[in-house]
Symmetry: C2
Subunit: 291 residues, 2 copies
């Protein structure tokens, strides 16, 4: 059994990006610039945005954090998005989700110019990913593909089972894994809340992507010996022994599943760091021009 060390791999990729940016700056060009919009004071959102700003520093990017109170109206937020769309100094930007209930997240997502949509959530980028065209790929699926790639895990002709059909993980990772590409070329099965026989299907999987948001869902008796298991779950579970008061819990019963696997990601330190790393890759692409 080998741990897929997302933290280490992400650090490697960020170092590669930093080197490229250093050359860019040495050549007299400006570095990539990522902006993040943060609405309100959600604890999780604060943590995520802080990690993204830190990753920008590691890559030599410029970053801007725009904070707004949770009383901001949808109209005002749309106007801030327009400013970022029109600002030639900003290569890409993200709106940290979730947003307050009075703001329509889909409307906000679609207001972002797809050429600056480094989260890859805009329909144009979702469509381009499905068709197999260049575009900004949703960060978590792209990070998973990079992890499979860097560890040289064979995917062609393998059966990948995706647990979950969310728009930001399940559907796009299924679409990426089935592409005629390397990594890719998997037979792909998508299971979800309406699947009656998840265990039976998981037992056929060479690769399992667990993205249900259901802590400890994937048990050892659901995994074929020698499988690769990618855990996308990051549920916050109360834990009084931690200073923060919680711990991150994956969708995989790690202690019991890991001994059966050839490869497995830990939580934390697996998919999480790779996700932020993909955002950096997308921002660099935005700077260099992708469309």
């Amino acid at each position: 059994m080998q741990i897929l060390d997302g933290k280490h791999t992400a650090a490697q990729i960020k170092a590669e990006i930093a080197k490229e940016v250093e050359q860019m700056v040495a050549d007299g060009q400006r570095p990539p610039h990522l902006a993040a919009i943060l609405v309100g004071n959600d604890g999780g959102s604060e943590t995520y945005v802080a990690s993204k700003v830190k990753a920008c520093e590691a890559c030599g990017f410029k970053s801007s954090l725009l904070r707004f109170p949770d009383t901001i109206s949808e109209k005002e937020l749309l106007s801030e998005i327009k400013k970022l769309n029109d600002n030639p100094d900003i290569d890409g930007f993200i709106i940290q989700l979730p947003l307050p209930a009075h703001i329509d997240e889909q409307k906000i997502t679609e207001a972002i110019d797809f050429r600056k949509d480094v989260d890859g959530f805009h329909p144009v980028n979702v469509g381009r990913l499905s068709i197999g065209l260049p575009g900004f790929r949703s960060a978590t699926p792209a990070g998973i593909i990079d992890l499979l790639d860097r560890y040289h895990i064979p995917t062609k002709g393998k059966h990948a089972v995706v647990l979950g059909r969310s728009n930001i993980v399940g559907k796009p990772i299924a679409n990426l894994l089935m592409q005629k590409a390397e990594p890719g070329n998997c037979t792909v099965t998508v299971c979800h809340s309406a699947t009656p026989n998840i265990k039976e299907i998981c037992l056929q999987a060479d690769i399992i992507i667990a993205a249900l948001g259901h802590p400890g869902f994937l048990k050892a008796d659901m995994v074929k010996p020698g499988a690769t298991v990618i855990d996308v779950g990051t549920t916050r579970v109360p834990d009084t022994s931690r200073k923060s008061g919680f711990r991150l819990c994956g969708d995989v019963d790690f202690d019991n599943v890991a001994p059966k696997c050839e490869f497995i990601t830990p939580v934390p330190g697996g998919v999480g760091p790779m996700t932020i790393c993909s955002l950096m890759k997308n921002t660099l692409l935005a700077r260099k021009g992708i469309f």
Copy 2:
């Protein structure tokens, strides 16, 4: 075993559309208007476009056929597309594929205003389908969903196996079948040329969508008794006994597979008529406003 009669179902839907259009016109509004661009003289394309024009007549739509020689340049074709994009009298239009080799089909597809893209091939519409947002759905997958719906075939929790991962059939029908929708909510497996154990997977399927373009690929020993089989194949096979010199051949070995099925589509007369019908539905949507 019951035949899913696409011809009959499509005629029903077209009659419903015609009734709505009749009311529209009676209310003093203009009827939907579909334009088709046909480049060159490909026999198959001529047939398809003629069927679409005929379907427009059946629905009470206005239709315009714009013919160009296969010597038209990409630039000239792009300029014709711009005219249609800008023409408020045209609700939707299609470019009949294939195009001559000197024209980039992807570039042409993306030049169409997605609000008039009634074929549903533009990345915005592909992305919106995947996310589950309103948009123009690719005609063949939408026709399959309508057929499942009209015959009240249960899909929730069923295992649908899609053979083929094309951008216009395999990927979008997989995305539609996995949506939290009715029809939908299927566990979905996508198999393709790199899948080593297609037979084993097909034997688990409650619903099989065969879209490989490989005549007679799906044999009786690959199908579970009681399955529903949807045949998307329409390969032209030479046949000297026909006036046309060919016959349309599906991906399913119909004579041997049909007795095992609960439902099955014939070729021709199954998915084909439903596809054209979906184009009519999209054109009506375009007229009424969808975005």
